[in-house]
């Protein structure tokens, strides 16, 4: 490279950084940077009425799993916390699996439409994706209520005589999360299926493979990157969900997000809330790293 070219490259890189600086400043100040403060707060001592006292303590992190009995002073596993983690985990997994089970046929359906029609179906799946999460949760709330659409239909059809009360149960949260996060599963699945070469299906059928075998041995392995992407896009926000469990769980069925809120807005224990936030962030980061590693391996494997 000649000195002039080298100079041009350097100028170009410098301009790239300069132009990106305003965005980076906003993000550092109001998105990424404050996360460090949460880390610091997780190692402080809780204040009397919320907030913190600036004294080092690992109490926040220990408090995630253990709690001290106020009368005997003995440490014991905090069952209440464990049940919240357990609920968050299995509800998120269930949501991920179920959105895949119904999302895959939907994505397949969209991808196999005629090109003109496809744009419309895609638009229809995108609208809920951009629609206010709170409004969608409220809409589900209305459907599931005792006097709501679901019970009206079920009782009208004579399937049940008494209204089923699902609201404020884990089932309601599961239905709600499936409803609000479904587009996040369908969109990446669609992107993967859209690139799928339908000639492979012909080849498989010509070789007398059954439909089930074709699905399992030909389609699923090829659209796997879409499955991984969709699963992470659904699992991550499900695990950190706040609005849906709050509205549909009615405060009784907490998930990690609500548990974190409880520590801060009700002023109970800020270091514990900070430690829980960091834990949630770490789990999400691990999931994303797994995805990135998988995505890189996938692209080199298929050329």
């Amino acid at each position: 490279m000649s000195p002039a070219e080298e100079n041009a490259v350097r100028t170009s890189a410098r301009n790239g950084w300069l132009l990106s600086t305003p965005a980076l400043v906003v993000l550092t100040f109001a998105a990424a940077g404050p996360l460090l403060i949460v880390l610091v707060y997780s190692f402080l001592t809780p204040g009397q009425h919320g907030n913190v006292i600036w004294e080092f303590s690992t109490g926040g992190w220990v408090g995630i799993l253990w709690s001290k009995d106020i009368f005997t002073g003995e440490w014991a596993l905090a069952d209440a916390h464990l049940s919240i983690f357990w609920r968050s985990l299995w509800l998120s997994l269930l949501t991920t699996v179920f959105t895949f089970v119904v999302g895959f046929p939907t994505a397949w359906f969209i991808a196999t439409r005629a090109p003109k029609e496809r744009a419309l179906w895609l638009f229809l799946i995108t609208i809920p994706f951009w629609t206010n999460l709170l409004i969608r949760t409220y809409a589900i709330n209305e459907v599931l209520r005792k006097e709501g659409l679901m019970n009206t239909v079920l009782m009208g059809l004579g399937i049940t005589d008494t209204p089923i009360e699902v609201l404020y149960t884990p089932t309601a949260i599961f239905i709600g999360m499936t409803y609000v996060y479904l587009p996040l599963m369908v969109l990446p699945l669609f992107a993967a299926i859209d690139r799928f070469d339908m000639k492979l299906l012909e080849a498989a059928y010509d070789l007398y493979a059954s439909r089930w075998r074709v699905l399992r041995r030909v389609i699923l392995p090829i659209v796997k990157p879409g499955i991984v992407a969709g699963s992470i896009l659904v699992f991550v926000p499900s695990l950190g969900a706040y609005v849906t469990p709050r509205v549909l769980g009615g405060g009784k069925q907490m998930m990690i997000g609500n548990f974190i809120e409880l520590q801060f807005l009700q002023g109970k224990n800020w270091p514990l809330g900070a430690a829980l936030s960091m834990l949630l962030l770490m789990i999400v980061m691990v999931a994303l790293l797994v995805y990135v590693r998988y995505a890189n391996k996938g692209s080199s494997g298929h050329g």
Binding site: G16, V26, L27, T28, A32, I125, T131, E147, Y205
Partner: protein, 267 residues
């Protein structure tokens, strides 16, 4: 074999499932919209068509204030995030890959990766400290927080537009002795405008919809429309909430339709 290969992509039960999924996606929203026109106070019994709940919502000063606040925050957030995202997109496309470019990408997409509740808590602590130190409790905190998480949404369509743009026009302008600024102002910017408008609209929608971060960052009396609704959901519900939801939905659908028309590939 031609006949069979025609049905080759058809898998049993898939179309039925898809139709049920689309119905399940839209029925709750449609029900919500329909009941916003209900004359009765009940959310369960249909009492005839009326616009009463819209009038009631509009007469409610809390709703009016929250609407104004939402619109102000979303407008500023869209303006700020689109401006900085446009600069960042110009900085990270159409030039040789440079050192640290991946780091810039990661930073820009960071709000998409971190759970909202974690960012909300982080901002509550930081802004709480600043509020305490300065005694200033303006809307600025909300605008700043919204601007930050809107950046990736504004950035994506702008970057896509830039990558699809023809460089020859800019080269031609430079060959005709246009200064870099003239080239940018007269050639690049007009070509880029649809991407910027699309980015600003997405940012606006995203800001308008935010609940979690707003709920944690707002000071007393700074409810936006979504946080006002969240508060109302704890009380006795009336179709007023449906009316507010329907108005918000209308704004979103109009902006999204415009977005799709703007970014549609011409073929």
């Amino acid at each position: 074999m031609a006949e069979r290969s025609f049905h080759v992509a058809r898998l049993p039960g898939f179309a039925t499932t898809a139709i049920i999924v689309f119905l399940a996606l839209y029925l709750p929203i449609i029900t919500l919209v329909v009941y916003s026109f209900n004359a009765s106070t009940s959310l369960a019994v249909w009492g005839g068509f009326s616009l009463d709940w819209y009038a009631k919502a509009w007469a409610n000063t809390q709703v009016k204030d929250a609407t104004m606040r939402s619109l102000i925050i979303a407008s500023f957030a869209a303006l700020i995030s689109t401006t900085v995202a446009t600069m960042a997109a110009l900085g990270t496309t159409r030039r040789r890959a440079f050192k640290g470019q991946t780091a810039i990408y990661v930073m820009i997409n960071q709000p998409l990766m971190v759970p909202e509740i974690v960012t909300a808590v982080a901002l509550m602590i930081l802004f709480g400290l600043i509020k305490q130190a300065t005694g200033i409790h303006g809307l600025g905190y909300l605008i700043l927080a919204h601007s930050a998480f809107c950046i990736p949404f504004a950035y994506l369509p702008i970057r896509a537009r830039l990558e699809g743009m023809d460089l020859t026009l800019e080269t031609a302008a430079a060959d005709l002795y246009a200064t870099p600024w003239q080239t940018f102002r007269r050639v690049t910017l007009p070509l880029l405008a649809p991407g910027m408008i699309a980015g600003a609209m997405l940012a606006f929608v995203i800001s308008l919809d935010d609940v979690v971060i707003t709920e944690f960052v707002k000071s007393g009396g700074q409810d936006t429309l979504p946080t006002y609704m969240l508060g109302q959901l704890r009380r006795q519900l009336t179709p007023e909430i449906n009316a507010i939801s329907t108005m918000l939905l209308a704004v979103t659908v109009v902006l999204l339709t415009a977005f799709f028309l703007l970014t549609r590939k011409k073929d």
